[in-house]
Symmetry: C2
Subunit: 340 residues, 2 copies
């Protein structure tokens, strides 16, 4: 089968590799009908994470179930499914508490790769959610977004306790930040301040529900947020970048007693304990438990209440994945869909 492989930083190739087979009785094999490139795929692509030989890429996917292991009960061959970027049993205490991304049996889909014609999905019953009905082209894009970026933005908004009466600040205008705005809006936030200096992303931010735009960054950005919130800071802040500057911007933009939801994968971030102590904000982040939200997100998508697929501004056939990576890397594209 054809699959996207990273050989070295910047070196993306689409190659023939062996088609996956069932390994565990709880596995399923799906035929991937669409995949995409994630902002976090750029970390190894840019050399910010080590690359050890050719690595299968991708962790977002929708597809049709081709084969199931003997212990799979709820998912059937032929089901059209969406899954999280972390496979989870959905039965352990951590999953049951809604943190499926830290399931005791978790498997990171990025270690398997989904930018490929087929993919093995561990813990199929726990990981996959069946979609009923025939999604339109727009709904299909949105379902693909649900697999990671929507679910991650949603988690960030929930972790930041976005809701009625709240002012939400969003640090990061990538797909996750933008969908954090959509989530905050859907959760009832009163005011949503997008921190962005790119006109096209500002436009999408407003389309998703942003009421204010702040172009300043770092402590200047913090000062603007304070100005816009009567000196107090935001109630809820979504961090969707993962750098030292973005984390401090998020923490300092939040009022004491407020909440920061951080979902940008931390790279080189160190936080001073005394700064956290003095800030007195709640901090919750990590890999998003997308599985927790999938049934609700699928329902919102299939009833056209949300349109997260609007973040895809470039669609390419799988064979042109390398151009997709370049477009994301150079910020010519916010989010790239790969079709088969």
């Amino acid at each position: 089968m054809r699959a996207v492989m990273l050989h070295a930083p910047g070196d993306i190739r689409v190659e023939d590799i062996e088609r996956p087979t069932l390994v565990e009785p709880t596995d399923a094999i799906i035929r991937v009908t669409a995949a995409c490139i994630c902002g976090s795929d750029l970390w190894p692509y840019r050399g910010a994470e080590d690359v050890h030989g050719p690595a299968a890429m991708g962790h977002e996917y929708i597809g049709v179930v081709e084969e199931i292991g003997d212990d799979v009960r709820d998912i059937q061959v032929g089901d059209f499914v969406v899954g999280s970027f972390v496979a989870s049993d959905n039965t352990c205490e951590i999953c049951q508490a809604g943190f499926q991304s830290r399931c005791i049996h978790q498997v990171m889909m990025g270690s398997i790769g989904t930018q490929s014609e087929y993919a093995r999905i561990p813990w199929a019953d726990g990981t996959l959610v069946k979609v009923d009905g025939e999604p339109t082209e727009e709904q299909t894009k949105s379902l693909l977004a649900a697999s990671d970026v929507l679910g991650t933005g949603w988690f960030a908004a929930v972790a930041a306790e976005a809701g009625p009466g709240k002012t939400v600040a969003v640090v990061g205008d990538g797909a996750v930040g933008l969908l954090g705005i959509l989530a905050a809006k859907q959760l009832g936030a009163e005011r949503i301040i997008a921190m962005s200096r790119h006109a096209d992303r500002q436009a999408l931010a407003r389309q998703f529900g942003a009421t204010d735009i702040v172009e300043e960054r770092g402590e200047e950005g913090v000062a603007r947020i304070k100005e816009l919130t009567g000196g107090y800071g935001a109630h809820s802040t979504i961090e969707a970048v993962g750098t030292q500057e973005s984390m401090l911007q998020a923490i300092h933009a939040t009022r004491p007693g407020g909440h920061v939801g951080f979902v940008g994968v931390s790279h080189g971030v160190t936080l001073e304990g005394i700064d956290l102590f003095v800030s007195t904000v709640s901090l919750l982040g990590g890999p998003a438990p997308v599985r927790r939200f999938l049934p609700e997100l699928i329902e919102l998508i299939m009833t056209d209440q949300i349109n997260p697929g609007a973040v895809f501004d470039l669609t390419l056939p799988l064979e042109e994945a390398a151009e997709g990576y370049r477009a994301m890397d150079e910020r010519r594209a916010t989010k790239v869909m790969l079709t088969f």
Copy 2:
């Protein structure tokens, strides 16, 4: 009046200083009837915080109102009162959200000093809570504890979301950690694991509600907590020390999706962003908004439902404050009460 002054690390003197007077119309002057020495007073005493010339010490107090400013409405001369270690207006948005320790008009009582015969209390209406009735000697000790260590332990337990069905781990067996145990018990926690290697403190921990004791520290302590919790970690962890080791112990002992309430004043603590990301725990800490809890705590004390005053294991007259500091420093005493 007589007051405790720190001249240099280790150099505590009881001296005559000027009796405080009203400065702002929102101030009150109280005659302090009991004060105490806090674990956090030991940081400057030990030289871990800079000492700039003779500094008035203390921030915990109960007393009788002697004088009030023109704008004080709710507090009357003659009231017997308890106040928080942070003065707050109790009306700003931060106070109204329950984070009075970060009031936009906050005044740290430690910058004024309360180990003295009289003390000026800023924002008297916002800071002080009147106690009705005649407290017994035991209740008096407990009310004094409410001013900081009980309120701080209580906040840590609330921040850690201790409650029914939860396993709570407590890092730190000082007065705050011990009262965090009392709080967790009162909040309905199912199981409370005290991390302590001192027999007398273990005994008090059990008296306050601890069900298990773990003597190991650091990653060994974490491993023991995991063992005791089916491999998952605690749901809720109280951190009441403020060192690098104690913070990591608290974060790592907590299961994904769990909560850490940290109230030890951070000294030299740095946290890796990626460690927080992977841990996926909620982190909330800082100076405790004791004022939020005071009415409830006073009620619990005056109806003998809790006995936090049991943490005082040494009572000395104000004049012998230096011995009190030595006893705390050498861990001969858990908590010292100063009487007048």
